[in-house]
């Protein structure tokens, strides 16, 4: 009850000097909104990337060319062959499916209509490994691949861009001047890994490598383990198989790299940690500035109200009561700044999302709590010195103060 009354008293005092109170909160508003928008941008980005990693599937391992300590001297990008994928499927009993792939951006034409699409050359297993299925028609078959047929399956968006409402199955489109028959349209999916698969066009691996890209190697092999828990062991099997395929001597470095969803997430986490530290340092500095602002205003307030403090002591306030009152005032200033800062920070990150159109922001509830607690602490810390000065005033001197 007493505490509540002190709070009311403090609010009145702050209300009398509204303009000054607002100026005092400004530093905290800037600091807290910096923290909140930094957190929103970071967790938004993190959430988006994590979602993409999640879509990769936890039972998968991606194999790409390169690797080894000598990587920097001699970057290899042609180490993986499609035969490697067959060897992995044959030799590794912990792998149940493989999908080798090559991809390149190309122009697709249907009469007058044009669209730029990522052309993905892959095999039948792609559909099941990625749990990404056809909505109309059929997917690429073994026969398509072996006979290097000129057929393609359109991504959801690619189909609507070229054909509008018309069902495209059975029509022919031109890729790099070659006619391809559309045999299927994929379901709407969005992102798979970091690729927006909806605007992609899928062709058989053999057709793609020979007729479109003229390449003798694949850029990536996705292998799916029989069980997620067997992923580590499966990777060892793959490593053994590929080393013998590539005739790498014992002790020599791999010419390929493998990564899983887990590893990718961890690596990304390390990168965001650095950003976090930088952003929080900036936010921290602005909060220190805010604290100094509050301390300054509180000192002015104590000096101005010297006589009032004398009166309060004369009518029975203990020194601790005076101390409490000024601490509460500082905390209230800071908390008002905190609340406004959270609102400004959220509005700012929203605005950023709208302007840039690429950033996704997300304000975690924990960030709000964190920001408010921090604002309260800053208020109390910056209020200590002025409050102690107020509490130490000699009442006789204070009552005489002009």
């Amino acid at each position: 009850m007493f505490f509540l009354r002190i709070v009311i008293m403090s609010l009145r005092a702050l209300q009398t000097n509204l303009m000054r109170t607002m100026l005092a909160t400004l530093g905290v508003i800037i600091g807290v909104s910096a923290v909140v928008s930094a957190m929103s941008i970071l967790s938004g980005a993190e959430k988006e990337v994590v979602d993409k990693f999640e879509s990769m599937g936890a039972d998968q391992v991606m194999i790409v060319s390169g690797g080894g300590r000598r990587q920097s001297r001699r970057i290899r990008f042609d180490a993986l062959k499609r035969e490697d994928a067959d060897a992995i499927l044959d030799d590794c009993e912990l792998i149940k499916a493989v999908a080798p792939e090559v991809t390149q951006p190309m122009q697709i034409k249907y009469f007058q209509k044009n669209t730029n699409a990522q052309v993905l050359a892959t095999t039948t297993a792609y559909e099941s490994i990625n749990d990404y299925h056809v909505a109309e028609g059929r997917f690429i078959t073994r026969e398509d691949d072996r006979s290097e047929r000129k057929v393609c399956v359109l991504g959801h968006k690619a189909a609507s861009e070229l054909f509008g409402q018309v069902p495209p199955v059975g029509y022919r489109v031109k890729i790099k001047g070659l006619g391809f028959t559309v045999v299927g349209v994929m379901e709407k999916k969005g992102f798979l890994g970091f690729r927006n698969v909806d605007s992609q066009v899928i062709v058989p691996l053999g057709t793609g490598m020979k007729r479109l890209f003229g390449m003798r190697f694949v850029s990536m092999i996705t292998a799916q383990a029989t069980d997620q828990s067997m992923l580590e062991a499966a990777m060892q099997q793959i490593s053994r198989t590929l080393r013998s395929q590539h005739k790498i001597r014992a002790g020599a470095d791999d010419d390929f790299n493998m990564f899983t969803q887990e590893q990718a997430k961890k690596q990304f986490g390390d990168v965001t940690k650095i950003f976090e530290v930088v952003l929080y340092s900036i936010a921290g500095i602005s909060l220190v500035v805010g604290a100094i602002g509050i301390m300054n205003i509180m000192l002015v307030s104590v000096t101005e109200r010297t006589r009032e403090i004398g009166v309060r002591i004369a009518v029975g306030a203990r020194r601790i009561d005076i101390l409490t009152q000024f601490l509460i005032e500082a905390a209230i200033i800071s908390l008002i700044g905190g609340v406004l800062g959270v609102l400004v920070g959220m509005a700012f990150s929203d605005l950023l999302e709208k302007i840039t159109q690429v950033l996704t922001t997300f304000t975690p509830p924990a960030a709000i709590v964190y920001a408010l607690v921090m604002a309260g602490v800053i208020g109390i810390v910056s209020g200590i010195y002025p409050a102690v000065r107020a509490a130490r005033l000699d009442p006789v001197e204070a009552l005489r103060y002009e």
Binding site: V311, G316, L399
Partner: protein, 252 residues
């Protein structure tokens, strides 16, 4: 005995100079008395009042309030005594300007952790005849009204003694009389009043006169009607003489 003071001293040291503001004061004041303390400025009357009110601590001597020694109390206990047993009235009213009359009166109640503060503050305002102005701020009131609010604040906790430091000093004589009437009423209902003033016409309102010079009490006597008449007449004569003397001519 409400106030018992023996050989009370208060010595200020400022650098090399030592000021004996209070140089061994002995005095007893009974409950229910109406005492005025007069003296020239620097005579130690304000210092004495600060010590009586527990705002300052004596350098030496003893001071018992209601039988309790005030010189050895902790800050907390002293604050409690200021809150419960003492009511201050100042020359400049010392109200908190941003809040209403009733909130000003309620301040001691809040520090005393009292309940029903509004009703009690209202009752105190009624005692000084300002119940109808309870929502006004000090800035919207006349000097006399402000001092009445200050008195209401002083009496709200029913203290055993009211210490008034030049309470009429900032008021015209008519308003000053109204304020003194309130002190008379409070005294009639049993409150002890110690009034510090340098105006003789105010000091004679009390029933006991204490005069201080250089930190010592040199006069301590009861005020009879006769004395009151004489003192007031002297005061008036002095004033009349000051007015009639041809000051300017002499100077020229």
């Amino acid at each position: 005995m409400l106030i018992q003071v023996e050989q009370l001293t208060r010595i200020y040291t400022m650098g090399d100079s030592v000021v004996r503001a209070l140089d061994g004061v002995d005095i007893d004041i009974d409950a229910g008395e109406f005492v005025s303390i007069t003296g020239a400025s620097g005579s130690g009357k304000s210092t004495f009042m600060h010590l009586l009110g527990g705002l300052d601590r004596p350098t030496g001597g003893s001071y018992l309030l209601d039988g309790q020694s005030m010189s050895r109390l902790s800050d907390w206990k002293l604050a409690r005594i200021r809150n419960r047993s003492i009511g201050f009235v100042f020359q400049t009213f010392n109200l908190i300007n941003r809040t209403s009359a009733i909130d000003n009166v309620a301040v001691p109640l809040i520090y005393g952790r009292e309940t029903k503060t509004r009703a009690k503050a209202m009752a105190a305002l009624e005692r000084v005849g300002l119940a109808n102005r309870h929502n006004h701020r000090p800035s919207e009131m006349s000097g006399g009204e402000r001092q009445r609010v200050a008195i209401a604040r002083a009496v709200v906790n029913n203290p055993s003694v009211i210490l008034a430091d030049e309470p009429t000093g900032n008021l015209d004589s008519q308003t000053g009389t109204q304020i003194l009437d309130i002190f008379h009423e409070l005294n009639a209902s049993g409150t002890t009043i110690v009034l510090v003033t340098h105006e003789m016409s105010v000091a004679v309102q009390a029933r006991r006169l204490i005069h201080m010079t250089d930190g010592l009490i040199d006069v301590d006597r009861s005020i009879t009607d006769e004395l009151r008449r004489d003192l007031v007449r002297d005061d008036l004569l002095r004033a009349a003489r000051l007015q009639s003397e041809p000051v300017i001519k002499e100077a020229g």
